[in-house]
C-alpha cells in the first residue's frame, strides 16, 4: 500500500540507483557481512554500512536523520533474538522499529523503506540475500519522496 506521495514520486529514470544506509552491529551482522566477503558471495553494491557495537545503540533519530538526508532505504541489522552480545540490545532496537515504522507511515513514507534483519556471525550467505532483498525492495519503491520535496 503506497501513499499518494509514494505513487507520485516514481521516476522513470532507469539509471537511478537507490541510496541505502545500513547500521549494523559489530558482533553478528558485521561479522556475517565479513563472512560473505571471505566466501566471495557477490551481492549488489548499493548499500553502505556503518558499524555500531549493538543495534541497541541505534537512536530512532539516526534513522529519521537518514531519511531527512535523502536515504531511499535504511537497514538495521543485528543478532538473532537471544543471541545479542549484550543480552537484549536487539530486542530494544526491534521495539523502536515498530514505533518508527508507524511514524514513517504517518508522514507518508512507505514503511518498507525501513527494515530490520537478524543475521548472525555465521550467516554470510544470508547477509548476501538480505542485501539483494533490501536493494530490490527499495528499487521497487523508487526514490524517496523526501528527495522530490528537496528538488
Amino acid at each position: 500500500m503506497h501513499s499518494c506521495l509514494e505513487v507520485n514520486s516514481k521516476m522513470a529514470d532507469e539509471n537511478w540507483k537507490p541510496k541505502i544506509i545500513a547500521i549494523i552491529c559489530n558482533w553478528c551482522s558485521y561479522a556475517g557481512a565479513d563472512l560473505a566477503g571471505s566466501a566471495r558471495t557477490q551481492y549488489p553494491t548499493d548499500i553502505r554500512a556503518i558499524r555500531v557495537m549493538c543495534t541497541g545503540r541505534v537512536d530512532p533519530l539516526f534513522i529519521m536523520k537518514a531519511f531527512q538526508d535523502g536515504a531511499d532505504g535504511v537497514l538495521i541489522s543485528g543478532c538473532h533474538f537471544g543471541d545479542c552480545h549484550y543480552l537484549e540490545g536487539n530486542y530494544k532496537a526491534a521495539k523502536r522499529m515498530f514505533l518508527l515504522k508507524s511514524v514513517l507511515k504517518n508522514i507518508g513514507l512507505d514503511d518498507k523503506r525501513l527494515r530490520m534483519t537478524f543475521v548472525s556471525a555465521s550467516e554470510g550467505a544470508k547477509w548476501a540475500t538480505v542485501m539483494e532483498d533490501v536493494v530490490n525492495t527499495v528499487t521497487e519503491l523508487g526514490p524517496s519522496p523526501l528527495n522530490e520535496f528537496a528538488r
Binding site: A33, S38, T45, M53, C54, K65, H85, L87
Partner: protein
C-alpha cells in the same frame, strides 16, 4: 588519567591498502586515494601494497609526525581483523589509538563486488568519506585496566576439559572444573580402544582423572551445572547449581560433624537398592540401581541417587550405617564463584540416527551405533567384551559398518558436515572384530575414507591388509530378514557401478555427532555465538581458534566442532594457555566504549536505568539535582541507553551521536552529488 590533548582543527591522514590484488583487483586504488585527498580535513592521502606490513605501518607513524595528524583512516580489510594492528601503529606514531578509524573496502566491498569495478570504486570512496567524517570527530580515550581474579573455570569434564583444568591448575591457577554428570571422563571413558595406536581408552584416561581429582589447585564440582553468569573478563561471577546428589562426600560429612563418615564407594547401598533401571553409561544395555556409579573407575568415587527413580525406601540408609552418607531429602544447592577466565569444553552428543529411517536403527535388533559397539567390545562393558547380536546373543561373523551415518548429509535429516573421527574409529572397529572373532569379516560401506592424521593413513592400509572389505557407496537402505534377523545392506558400489546387496549378521552405524543438548543454553549464558550447525563459534577460524567474541571465554574440544582426541587435547592446552594469560598478567584493559552522562542536560528521568542489561546505571543526587551515573566497570558499551535517552544526555564513547550522525551525513549529503 593521562593527559588528553586538545587539537584546533582536525587533520586526517588516509591510507588506502591494495592488499595485493585482493582490493586493487576490483577497486581503482589511485582514484580512491585522489578522491580522499579532496575530502574536508584530509591533509594527506597515500596508498601501499600491504598497509599491515611494517613499511605500511611506518607510513602511518611518519605521517602523524610530519603532518601533525589528529586522526588516521586506513581503507583496507575488516576492522574485526586489523583494527588492533592499526590502532597500535597509530599509538606508535604518538597519537591516541582511538583516533584511528577503518574503512572496510575488502570483506564488504572488493570481495563481494568482484565484477563491478566502477560501482566498487564508488562504494570505496563513500566508505572513505564516511570514515573521514568519523575520524574528524574522534577523541582521545583511555582504556580502563581492571584486575583479574586469580581463578579460572572449566565447564565440561571430558578429556578436553580435564586437560584444560590440569594445565591451568599446574600453572598455579585455582581452577573450578564443572561437570554435569556424577563423574568426569566424558565420552572418552565410554570408548574401548583409541585409534591408531590401539591404546586402551580407560588406561590412558583414568590416570588423568585421578590427577584431576588429586590436584591441589583443582576444585572438582561434579553433578553441577552453570546456572547464571555475570561480569566480564577478569571478573566473572558464575552461579552453580549443585544438583542434589543424595550422598555426602567424606569432606561434606566431616563438615556436618560426622567424623569418619561420608561415602567411601563401598557399594553396599547399590546391592540393597530395589530399583532397577537402564544404565545410560552403557547406553541402556545393562541394568543400574537408583543409587549408582556409572562404572568402576569413576572419579570422584561417590555414589549418586537418581531421585527420578528412587522410591525412598531407606534400605540404603540402613546399610550405610554409621557412615551416614545418604540423605534422601537432599535439595539442589547454589554457589557463586568468582573467576577471571572460563574455558568451555561441553562436548557433543550422538546424532539420533533413528531419524534416518532407511537404516532401521531402533527398528531392527541387530542395527547398533558405534558407541554401542564400543561398549559391547569393551572388556568392562555389559558383555565383558564379547560382541554379540542383540537379537539372539550369537557372535556375528559378518559385520557391516555404515560410515557417514547422518554426516555429510544434505537431505535435511542429517548433518551437512563431516564428523571427522568416524572413518578412523570404524577402521579400528574392523580391526577389533578381526582380532577378537576368528573368521569374522568386516564390510565397510564408505563414501570416502578420511584418514588425515599422523599415522592414520598407515592404519588404513593395515586394516586393508588384515582383510576388511571396503565398499564405496552410501547405503540406500537396510532390510531385515524377519526369520534370521540378518540384515541386507543395499547400496550402489560406485567403483563397480552396480547395485549390490550384502547380507550381514550385524550393522554398526557410524552416527554423526552434534553439539551436546545443553550447548545452546550454555552458550547463551556465556554470550558465545554459534556456527550455522550449532557448534560454538571461535573468534577466528585460523588465527584464534580457542577464543570467542566474549573476552575471557575460550573453547576446547568438540564443542567448537568435531575433532578427535589428539586435536581435542591440543586445543584444550591452547585454550588453557590463552585463559591463563590474563590471569598471569593480573589485569586486562577494557575498551573504553562506556556510556558517559552529560550531567548538564540529564533530566534525571531514569528511563535509561531499566534499559541497561548490566545494572551499570543509577540515579544519584548531585548539586541538588537528580542525574544518572554510570559504573564504568559494569558498562559493556552496548549503547542501548544512549540509543534511547530522550534528552540525548548519554554520550557513548567512540560511538557518539555526533560521530554517527556525521557518518550518516557524509554518506547521504557529502560526496559527488
Amino acid at each position: 588519567m593521562a593527559e588528553v590533548k586538545k587539537y584546533e582543527e582536525p587533520r586526517i591522514g588516509v591510507f588506502v591498502c591494495h592488499c595485493g590484488t585482493n582490493i586493487a583487483g576490483s577497486i581503482d586504488i589511485k582514484a580512491v586515494m585522489e578522491y580522499a585527498s579532496t575530502l574536508p580535513n584530509v591533509v594527506i592521502a597515500d596508498d601501499y601494497q600491504y598497509m599491515c606490513s611494517t613499511p605500511g605501518q611506518n607510513k602511518i607513524g611518519e605521517a602523524i609526525e610530519e603532518q601533525k595528524l589528529t586522526g588516521v583512516v586506513v581503507a583496507a580489510c575488516s576492522p574485526r581483523l586489523h583494527e588492533p594492528t592499526f590502532r597500535a601503529a597509530t599509538k606508535e606514531g604518538g597519537l591516541n589509538p582511538f583516533r584511528f578509524e577503518m574503512a572496510n573496502i575488502r570483506e564488504q566491498n572488493s570481495w563481494v563486488h568482484m565484477h563491478q569495478p566502477e560501482e566498487a570504486t564508488d562504494k570505496a570512496k563513500d566508505a572513505v568519506r564516511i570514515a573521514v567524517a568519523k575520524a574528524s570527530l574522534l577523541e582521545d580515550l583511555i582504556p580502563k585496566s581492571v584486575p583479574v581474579e586469580r581463578a579460572a573455570m572449566v565447564v565440561g569434564g571430558g578429556v578436553g576439559g580435564m586437560q584444560a583444568a590440569l594445565d591451568l591448575a599446574s600453572a598455579g591457577i585455582k581452577t573450578y572444573l564443572v561437570e554435569k554428570e556424577p563423574s568426569i571422563g566424558g565420552k572418552m571413558s565410554q570408548l574401548d580402544k583409541t585409534f591408531p595406536t590401539l591404546d586402551c581408552s580407560q588406561c590412558i584416561l583414568t590416570p588423568k582423572m585421578v590427577d584431576v581429582y588429586r590436584h591441589e589447585n583443582i576444585e572438582l564440582l561434579t553433578y553441577t551445572e552453570v546456572e547464571a553468569v555475570e561480569g566480564y573478563i577478569g571478573n566473572f561471577d558464575v552461579t552453580l547449581r549443585k544438583k542434589a546428589r543424595g550422598v555426602m562426600t567424606p569432606d561434606e560429612a566431616t563438615e556436618r560433624g560426622i567424623i569418619g563418615g561420608g561415602c567411601n564407594g563401598c557399594g553396599d547401598c547399590e546391592d540393597v537398592c530395589p530399583v532397577i533401571r537402564p544404565n545410560p553409561f552403557e547406553l541402556g544395555m545393562s541394568p543400574m540401581k537408583a543409587i549408582y556409579i556409572y562404572h568402576a573407575q569413576v572419579s570422584p568415587l561417590i555414589y549418586t541417587i537418581d531421585f527420578d527413580s528412587c522410591v525412598k525406601c531407606g534400605l540404603c540408609v540402613d546399610v550405610c550405617g554409621d557412615k551416614k552418607a545418604i540423605e534422601l531429602d537432599a535439595q539442589d544447592t547454589f554457589e557463586t564463584v568468582k573467576v577471571g577466565t572460563i574455558v568451555l569444553a561441553t562436548g557433543y552428543d550422538i546424532f539420533p540416527v533413528e531419524e534416518k529411517h532407511e537404516w532401521g536403527y531402533k527398528n531392527y535388533d541387530n542395527v547398533i551405533t558405534s558407541l554401542e559397539f564400543e561398549r559391547l567390545i569393551c572388556a568392562s562393558g555389559p558383555t565383558g567384551g564379547h560382541l554379540i547380536r542383540p537379537s539372539d546373543g550369537a557372535t556375528p561373523k559378518k559385520v557391516g559398518f555404515v560410515l557417514c551415518a547422518g554426516s555429510r548429509d544434505n537431505t535435511g535429516v542429517g548433518k551437512p558436515y563431516c564428523s571427522r573421527f568416524c572413518c578412523m574409529y570404524s577402521l579400528k572397529h574392523a580391526h577389533q572384530i578381526i582380532e577378537k572373532i576368528p573368521g569374522a569379516v568386516p564390510y565397510i560401506f564408505y563414501m570416502d575414507i578420511r584418514s588425515f592424521g599422523k599415522m592414520y593413513e598407515e592404519f588404513y592400509y593395515r586394516i586393508q591388509d588384515e582383510g576388511a572389505k571396503f565398499i564405496r557407496g552410501r547405503v540406500a537402505n537396510i532390510q531385515e530378514d524377519p526369520v534370521t534377523k540378518n540384515l541386507h545392506i543395499n547400496t550402489e558400489d560406485t567403483l563397480l557401478g552396480r547395485p549390490i546387496d550384502v547380507e550381514v549378521d550385524m550393522v554398526v552405524l557410524a552416527a554423526a555427532v552434534q553439539p551436546a543438548a545443553e550447548t545452546e543454553a550454555t552458550r547463551r549464558l556465556f554470550g558465545v555465538s554459534c556456527s550455522q550447525d550449532g557448534w560454538l563459534l571461535e573468534a577466528h577460524p585460523k588465527l584464534n581458534p580457542c577464543g570467542t567474541t566474549t573476552a575471557g571465554v575460550y573453547l576446547a574440544g568438540v564443542c567448537q566442532g568435531p575433532k578427535d582426541i589428539p586435536d581435542t587435547v591440543a586445543q584444550a592446552e591452547g585454550a588453557a594457555s590463552a585463559a591463563s594469560i590474563p590471569i598471569h598478567r593480573g589485569e586486562v584493559e577494557l575498551e573504553p566504549y562506556f556510556a558517559v552522562c552529560i550531567e548538564d542536560i540529564c533530566a534525571g528521568c531514569g528511563m535509561c536505568i531499566n534499559l541497561c542489561p548490566y545494572q551499570a546505571l543509577a540515579l544519584v543526587e548531585k548539586d541538588g539535582r537528580t542525574v544518572m551515573q554510570v559504573t564504568e566497570a559494569k558498562c559493556k558499551g552496548c549503547g542501548t541507553c544512549g540509543g534511547f535517552c530522550p534528552g540525548g544526555a548519554i554520550r557513548m564513547q567512540h560511538f557518539t551521536t555526533p560521530q554517527i550522525v556525521a557518518q550518516i551525513d557524509a554518506f547521504l549529503l557529502g560526496g559527488e552529488q
